[in-house]
Amino acid sequence: MLAISEVKKAYGAFDLGPIDLTVGTEVLSVLGPSGCGKTTLLSAIAGVVDPDAGTVTLNGTDLAGRSPEERGTVLVFQDGALFPHMTARENVAYAAASIDRVEELAATLEVGDVLDQRAATLSGGERQRVALARSLAADPDALLLDEPLANLDAPIKRRLRDELRPLLSSLSIPVLYVTHDQHEATAIGDRLAVMADGAIQQCNTPGEVFAHPATPFVASFTGSTNLFRARVAGTDENPTLEWADHELDAPDHESEVGETIEFCIRPEYVVVENGARERPNVLDGRVRRVVFEGDDYLVDVAPESTDDTIQVTLSPPVYDRLELADGERVRLSLPSDAIHVIGAGE
């Protein structure tokens, strides 16, 4: 188990921490924007930078004062950090205890064919595979991956991502997987820690973080683009929110009547209604903008009674059926169980 406790590091104007994280034999994704301190956190765990305060223990051993090579923590870098003057084989062998181990890992990561190539001649995907093989060759007690897929083309990235999850789980060691990509973070991590401005905002299962973001930042960074300010109109048996001249039924939350709160709803949970019938949580608006993202359509809808914009994600078949054009009137439904009051239900 990797336990990070009260770890702090100041870099000029930037402050990391205090960070508290416990990673069991699991894959913990650390999701955050660039510059939020993810890499500094990994560096502090690996002993590459000295934290100003706090402790890092691995399997019960305090790592304080240990040099990077004595920690059992192995780093995997964004561009692989392969030694350019060596072949792929020499890179893996650099860390491996035996030649057999090199062959075995090359087979696991499917790089047997490129073992005799120089690191510089490898493709991005091959480079990361060799880098992973090299890191596993060192027999890590904990594996720290710093955006290992960030520079890869989309199809290669997706394939490697899907291979990585079972591979990392099979290691049965603490794995920290740092990324700024929400899809990667959820696809790979058993749990997910969202970081911003040097602090952990929320740490839970990916499903829980996405459904119930703890802060407005977590909501927007994990794709809950519909983030609005509302007044609490009812609580207990009849929890309702007043927003845009509408009273919205909402799940139970721990706020007082009259309080101003923030709530969010993921754009893929917003429903475009066909019926003309007035119902709770249904409101009318006009289409303001349509963006085709390739997989989905993002439709911005301006409700009549507010300046806010609701974003709706529609799959192409649904979008084609609805034939939405700019300026067109639409009726939206915000299902009450998809509404999340920020900070509630943690």
């Binding site: 002993g47 990077p68 090579e69 780093l75 030694f83 350019p84 860390a95 090299r134 890191s135 060192a138």
Partner: protein, 269 residues
């Protein structure tokens, strides 16, 4: 790319700056080469053969080669670790250290010789002690080495620093996190990657040590090195006396550079 070079060519009134640069650089290269060629042309081959057979010239050549080799080794052993520290340290007084290293480069060599004499001269405590032990630091091979090292060693520090700075720190961090200590990391990752730059520095030190005159003349006129032998020949026999000896020095220096350069593929790239 094409549009960009087109623009730079046409924007400045049809002036092709690349051609201008080539012409200017060509003049400079001619200025380097022409005297060397004319030196070789001005000496009859018999005079050159005489010089090669002159025991004084042979002795000077061997003194130069031995002293320059020792100076280069000393400069490398003491200078490379410092170069690494300068490349990696974030200490605030790093620039002060760098200034000290560059000092011998900006001092006139004769002044370097003078300041050395204040420490290793026979009247200074250290120099006097050395004389007492029978290993004087002036008028000796040791004196030549001290003068050459003083003047030439900054090259390996400055060039080595740049070479180490060119090695991505991430590679060192990767190596350490893979369980390899500082020494293994230096030996198998940092040094091989910095090698071309380091070798360029070593070459420069050797070349500078071979040609060192000003400081050596102050510290150790004898045993004579090649540059001093050239000076001596000039005083005795004028230009005609000095030319053949100068050619020998040029050939020995170029040969040494070629040998050093072929040790690595090409240290200048």
């Amino acid at each position: 790319m094409a549009t960009r070079s087109d623009r730079s060519r046409t924007a400045i009134g049809g002036f092709d700056w690349l051609t201008v640069a080539l012409v200017l650089g060509g003049v400079l290269c001619l200025y380097y080469l022409a005297p060397l060629v004319s030196l070789f042309l001005s000496v009859p081959s018999t005079a050159l053969l005489d010089a090669l057979g002159d025991p004084a010239v042979v002795s000077a050549a061997s003194t130069s080669l031995v002293s320059a080799s020792v100076s280069t080794a000393l400069a490398t052993v003491f200078g490379l670790p410092l170069a690494y520290w300068l490349a990696r340290s974030e200490a605030r007084w790093k620039n002060a250290v760098l200034a000290i290293v560059v000092l011998p480069l900006v001092l006139p060599p004769t002044v370097s010789g003078l300041v050395l004499l204040t420490v290793i001269g026979p009247n200074a405590p250290i120099g006097a002690f050395a004389v007492a032990t029978g290993m004087p630091l002036t008028r000796s091979l040791a004196g030549i080495v001290l003068a050459q090292t003083f003047v030439a060693s900054p090259f390996v520090v400055v060039t080595g620093k740049a070479a180490f700075e060119g090695v991505d720190r991430t590679l060192e961090h990767a190596s350490r996190s893979l369980g390899k200590g500082r020494w293994t990391t230096a030996r198998r990752v940092t040094l091989p990657l910095a090698a071309p730059g380091i070798l360029a520095g070593v070459t420069l030190v050797f070349a500078r040590a071979m040609g060192e005159f000003g400081a050596t003349v102050m510290v150790a006129y004898y045993p004579q090195t090649m540059p001093i032998e050239v000076w001596d020949a000039f005083l005795e026999g004028g230009l005609d006396g000095a030319y053949p000896v100068a050619i020998v020095l040029v050939v020995v220096s170029i040969a040494a550079l070629v040998v050093l350069n072929t040790v690595a593929s090409n240290p200048w790239e």
